[in-house]
Amino acid sequence: MKITALLVLKCHPIPDGSDPVILANATDVNHFGYFQRVTVKQFIVFVGRTVAKRTPPNQRHTVQHEEYKVHSYNRNGLCVVGFMDDHYPVRSAFSVLNQVIDEYQKKHGESWKTIQADTTSQWPYLNDALTKFQDPAEADKLLKIQRELDETKIILHKTIDSVLERGEKLDSLVEKSSDLSAASQMFYKQAKKSNQCCTIL
């Protein structure tokens, strides 16, 4: 359940041979060895460019690459690519991409259309997003709702069990109280009876 990288690229609206331009890049390569990190970053950049180039506008794609899934979402030339592992649910992946692209458009407006070369500056939101969305429930409201509903269901099951126990206890209380009332009735009668015979005397 891990996101390895998030990239924002600018794609040419006509899918021709020009490579997409990177607008923002956030990677988490800490689980690779120290000497492999640079290579892996370059590799991620390359695969991201390739996948983004081949994503037609206004479509979502998922490409399986050894043990990673590369998800890409192209919206009118602005493309977001995410590298997730196989366990990350696909839907949450796409909601992460949706959020990132919305945020980028909100923040940078239309200025991204004029960028011609790879941007090297960091976008802090992307880094935060990378760490925040490691848990898919953060990005995907549906998943969160589902999880909370499941918890609620479990709690309700426990409640019902305890209510059933309470019912049994109440049952036993009912029996005992009816026994008690019968006994007290006998007691009353006896007392009255013993009272009656003495008055005659």
């Binding site: 690779f32 060895g33 492999q36 290579t39 892996v40 590799f43 390359f46 695969v47 390739t50 996948v51 081949r54 994503t55 479509q59 979502r60 794609h61 998922t62 490409v63 399986q64 690459h65 050894e66 696909v90 839907r91 796409f94 549906l142 998943l143 709702i145 589902q146 509903l149 499941d150 609620t152 269901k153 309700l156 099951h157 409640t159 019902i160 209510v163 059933l164 309470r166 019912g167 109440l170 049952d171 209380l173 009912v174 109280s177 009816s178 008690l180 009332s181 006994a183 007290s184 009735q185 007691f187 009353y188 006896q190 007392a191 009255k192 013993s194 009272n195 003495c198 008055t199 005397l201």
Partner: protein, 348 residues
């Protein structure tokens, strides 16, 4: 009659026609002559005979010849498709063309099927229509069967071509996987271990090519060589193809998958919420029942309380009476003793 030597056969045809007309006048029609020439002359002469048996026949033959032509063209297209399928390599796969051709051939075959069945019904109709000679019946049945057989042959060839193509695609996929896993496995360490990588991928294409029956295995090995050489300069051209191939295969299901996923998730959320509402209702019912039980217990306890209070009062009274009745007891005993004395006096 034209007496030119080259056109003697036409002359015979006009003779035959006049003969057939005379025979028709007597109500009998003779047949069993080749009708192709008749067909050519038909529009020029009495083409105003609508729906006569001879025009039926020519219609039959026209249809038959059209179907034959169609089958021939379709088999040519199938042969072209087979060629395309065989020669497609990993890198320039004329996928669109092949798909278009496949669709076209399929349409043609279905149309031809329909046409052949039409021909069959036409033949049956015209046989049922009148009293024709054996020869014509035999001829038309033979024509129909021949066309059907040819169509079946064409369809079978089409199927073979499709199976060959799918095998080809599978083989390409395998080879591509082999290449791509080798490349990306070596990628983080490629600068150090490229030399070590060379021998194993070298042997694997030759192994895989030994397994492939297709002709493009030779080109595959060459492609492998080129890939090895290109590794140093650039990375993963096969991944291009892998990505593009995968994307091509996944374009249509991708969109549907995403929206279907969302729909499924929403439905599951909705069902969970419904379950929860059911659980809450159950809970409320049970609590209501148990409230009733509590009320019963309460009644019982009150009853007990009243009983015990009454008994207590009675006992108190009893106690009072006992404690305050001493002098009454003395009086009673005095009366008893009095009676006893009187009794004794009476007896004594």
């Amino acid at each position: 009659m034209v007496s030119a030597g080259a056109s003697t056969y036409r002359d015979r045809t006009s003779e035959f026609r006049s003969l057939s007309d005379t025979l028709k006048k007597f109500g009998r029609i003779s047949a069993a002559n080749p009708d192709r020439t008749y067909q050519h002359n038909d529009p020029s002469t009495s083409s105003k005979l609508p729906l006569t048996p001879s025009s039926y026949r020519s219609e039959f033959n026209k249809k038959a010849s059209r179907i034959g032509l169609g089958i021939h063209e379709t088999s040519k297209k199938i042969a072209r498709l087979a060629n395309l399928g065989k020669k497609s390599s990993i890198f320039d796969d004329p996928l669109k063309e092949i798909q278009e051709l496949t669709a076209l051939i399929k349409n043609d075959i279905t149309a031809l099927n329909v046409a052949v069945s039409d021909l069959q019904t036409l033949q049956n109709m015209e046989i049922a229509d009148g009293d024709y000679s054996e020869d014509r019946v035999v001829h038309s049945t033979a024509v129909c069967d021949d066309l059907k057989n040819k169509l079946m042959g064409a369809t079978k060839k089409f199927q073979d071509v499709l199976t060959a193509r799918s095998e080809n695609i599978k083989a390409h996929e395998n080879r591509r996987q082999i290449f791509s896993t080798n490349i990306s496995r070596g990628n983080p360490l490629r600068q150090q271990t490229e030399n070590v990588m060379e021998p194993p991928p070298w042997s694997s294409p030759s192994r895989s090519s030994a397994n492939q029956p297709s002709e493009s295995s030779g080109s595959g090995v060459q492609v492998g060589n080129q890939l090895r050489r290109r590794l140093a300069a650039d990375t993963t051209p096969s991944q291009h193809m892998e990505a593009s191939m995968l994307q091509q295969q996944q374009v249509v299901p991708q969109q549907e998958n995403y929206s279907q996923n969302r729909a499924v998730a929403l439905q599951s959320v909705e069902s969970t919420i419904t379950e929860l509402s059911g659980i809450f209702t159950n809970l409320a019912t049970m609590v209501a029942h148990q409230g009733e039980l509590a009320i019963r217990i309460d009644d019982n306890m009150e009853e007990t309380m009243s009983n015990v209070e009454g008994a207590r009062g009675a006992l108190l009274k009893h106690l009072n009476r006992i404690s305050s009745n001493r002098w009454l007891l003395i009086k009673i005993f005095a009366i008893l003793i009095f009676f006893l004395i009187i009794f004794l006096f009476f007896l004594a």
